[in-house]
Symmetry: C2
Subunit: 159 residues, 2 copies
Amino acid sequence: MTDHDPKRDLVLERYVAVPVEKVWAAWTEPELILQWFTPAPWKTVECKIDLRPGGRFYTLMRGPAGEEHAGDGCFLEVEAPKRLVWTSALGPGYRPNPVQHIDLSFTAMLDFQPKGGGTVYTARAIHGTEAAAKTHAEMGFADGWGAALDQLVALMSRA
Amino acid sequence: MTDHDPKRDLVLERYVAVPVEKVWAAWTEPELILQWFTPAPWKTVECKIDLRPGGRFYTLMRGPAGEEHAGDGCFLEVEAPKRLVWTSALGPGYRPNPVQHIDLSFTAMLDFQPKGGGTVYTARAIHGTEAAAKTHAEMGFADGWGAALDQLVALMSRA
């Protein structure tokens, strides 16, 4: 649907041996988000989800030294169990988020396709500028989102 | 649906003697947008509309001295003929728009309620900060959106 732009999009695509329904649950139930969403040693310590277009996606992450990072995003598309779109550029009720001193706004497009009992998991982070995508890449998008996905798989394989 | 915040929202509410379906047409057909959207002496000289969530809402405005202002927004909710939501914070495909040097991002929520052959027309501009709302107000939100609505009414009363 969106025109893909390799210079402004970061993509993580991987097959995971977790059924689509469990991937969906991991992404949409706050008590599950707390257990996988943030690569260790950081933790997600709070999560609020209002699962509808315009609804809130809030997370509070805490680092090993007690530093905190809050994110208040907004869901845009909710099509259980295969497509979830949210953005950091808007908050609850589609209200624009205040501009940060570093522009790291992105929209996350998550597509979960069933395949042989598992899921082809595609996560795209879509930025407004090449600079924002580059900054996000240098902050460790691939390792970070990949490590979080490893945690999702470990969690949902136990469940 | 959205929690209204009088410090960050600007609101224009007015009864207009134009049926809801014609108000909807005026807002969603590019050839009509060109005729009313921008208060004179400015004109809207181009408009592209892809009327679905994630779709493009593009306008190019031109001033009397030839100066131009382009806006590339994104539709969020499309419920003909009574509710239209779009934002300037995102572009087509939900891609965040690059941050401007002045933060004027807003989400426009338009509600059209039928009443006695006309329409209760409510337009809300929702900002991320009080500063953005104040800047937008000082730039002439009330007069500008009101004058544009006058032009919509004049146009659609002829149609």
